[in-house]
Amino acid sequence: MLNSVKSLFKREEIIVEALNSISFNIKKGEIRGFIGPNGAGKSTTIKILSGILYPTEGEVLVNKFKPWHQREKYVKTIGVVFGQKQQLWVDLPPLDTFYLNKTIYEIPDKLFKKNLDYFVNLFEIKDIIERPARQLSLGERMKCELVSSLLHDPDIVFLDEPTIGLDAIAKDKIRDFIKKVNKDKKTTFLLTTHDLDDIENLCEKIIIINKGLIVYDDTLAKLKTKVLKNKIIDVKFSKKIKDYQSPKGIKVIDKTDYDVKIQVDRGQHKIEKVINYFIKNYPIQDINVSNPQIETIIKKIYSK
């Protein structure tokens, strides 16, 4: 209470570096994933790239523009969709917002009609664009948000968690839409998401950011190779094992009296030898061999 009153007159300031000298390049026509734990700096990066925030220092060039210097010219070449912030007019049909965007972006009539027809057919949203946005489901609204951000044929689109809160079918539709637009129009997408299925379905390359620093910037395939050199073996015992002993050099991920989960580095151990060890020394009910989840490696990176 006293501190609250004190803060009326004097406040302690703490400097937090949201981003720390991050640097990356994205080629035209890419769909790049941009992931990281909460508070890593993903949205701050998107906001700088879209010209909303001014960085304290550093250079940003998007399509040869410095986003915050030439904002009005620059934003004509980009589209932005925030999964958690709506841009459609809530009480009016999305179609009205589309026409308003036509005026703001000065989209010629022919191009507007062509794009509107293309996107409406692609998403099959002809029936919903004339209903007030507040009456639409989250999935329907997100589709309309995406259409709204693409009508002016931007070169690059920033998607900040576009599939958040959506069901599996809606997510699939959004992913297919992004892939199709990327293929047909060569639109570049930078996608932030917590859903790794989005990444797996859409992105060849990903950037992982943590505590304002880029910790990975390469292909998803390379990241998977790191993961696939390991195998996960789940062993279920048919009776209680108190004095379990792991094979030498094998990492135990999880263990109870009735089962054990281990990680095997295929470069150092043969899977069949490890399985034989268990069969020889313990009463086995079930053995399951699987690949580690991509989440596992990413969680490891997040926790560093």
Binding site: S43, L53, W68, R71, I78, W89, D96, L100
Partner: protein, 260 residues
């Protein structure tokens, strides 16, 4: 011009949005109508029971109040709702979306928050103006009309500058609930001739915070009164506009957004 086209389109959409909640719109309109009538009614009552303001007849004061009502209704049409909603935009981070369009941010925000029921106040002010004008039996010349239009434009520049100042402060401090009220309270000093407030306040309202441009000077043109030191008032408005524009740009530059 794109801004005009955008405004026309946005205003149509705002009206469509308001018509979705018709009862709310009608009640707001009626309330506003009654509220705006109070000023001229009270003035009339004052003049019926006293000598009123020295040097000003009832219809001269009503003419001044009609000009005030007209300019006030234009300001409220474009900026009143923004006074309330901007704080919410900054707090929630939804100001971001206004920075993503290739159009002046303030234009975008004010068009989104257009208040259509103020059109009726506009009409009321024109009726009051015409009524007072007829009662005063004024001979209008083209020069008077031209001067009035020029001063009216400067009045709009002043209103726009004050809007930029208020909104810049809100973006910087996030929550500033009474700022709009403070502005309206100060502006209400223009409801009466500036000279009634004494030399110091009069000078303040002419050269530092020139609210005198809202009513006194435009009305002085119609009533063929002196436009003493108008050049300093205009200079003050130009300086205010430049400073508030810089302040606004600085506020946008330092906008920190909200939410991930």
């Amino acid at each position: 011009m794109k801004i005009v086209k955008y405004y026309m389109q946005a205003i149509k959409m705002v009206i469509a949005r308001e018509m979705m909640y018709r009862i709310n719109f009608f009640i707001r309109m009626i309330t506003l109508f009654c509220f705006e009538l109070m000023g001229p009614l009270i003035t009339t009552l004052i003049y019926m029971s006293s000598k009123g303001i020295l040097g000003w007849s009832l219809y001269e004061i009503l003419l001044l109040q009609a000009v005030f009502m007209f300019i006030n209704s234009i300001e409220r049409m474009f900026f009143q709702r923004t006074d309330w909603s901007l704080s919410m935009y900054v707090r929630s981070g939804s100001l971001d979306r206004f920075l993503l369009y290739p159009i002046d941010t303030l234009t975008l925000i004010s068009a989104n928050n257009f208040t259509p029921e103020q059109i009726f106040t506009n009409v009321l002010s024109i009726i009051l103006f015409i009524y007072s004008f007829i009662q005063l039996n004024i001979s209008l010349t083209w020069m008077m009309i031209l001067k009035f239009i020029i001063l009216f434009i400067f009045a709009l520049v002043f209103i726009y500058s004050m809007a930029m100042l208020r909104f810049s402060i809100i973006i910087r401090v996030v929550v500033m609930n009474r700022l709009g009220e403070l502005h309206r309270t100060i502006k209400n000093f223009a409801l009466y001739p500036i000279n009634v407030y004494g030399p110091i306040l009069s000078a303040f309202f002419k050269y530092i915070l020139p609210i005198s441009i809202l009513t006194n000077y435009p009305t002085a043109v119609i009533l063929n009164r002196s436009l003493e030191n108008i050049q300093y008032v205009i200079l003050s408005i130009i300086i205010l506009f430049i400073l508030t524009r810089l302040f606004w740009k600085n506020a946008i530059k330092n906008y920190a957004s909200a939410g991930g």
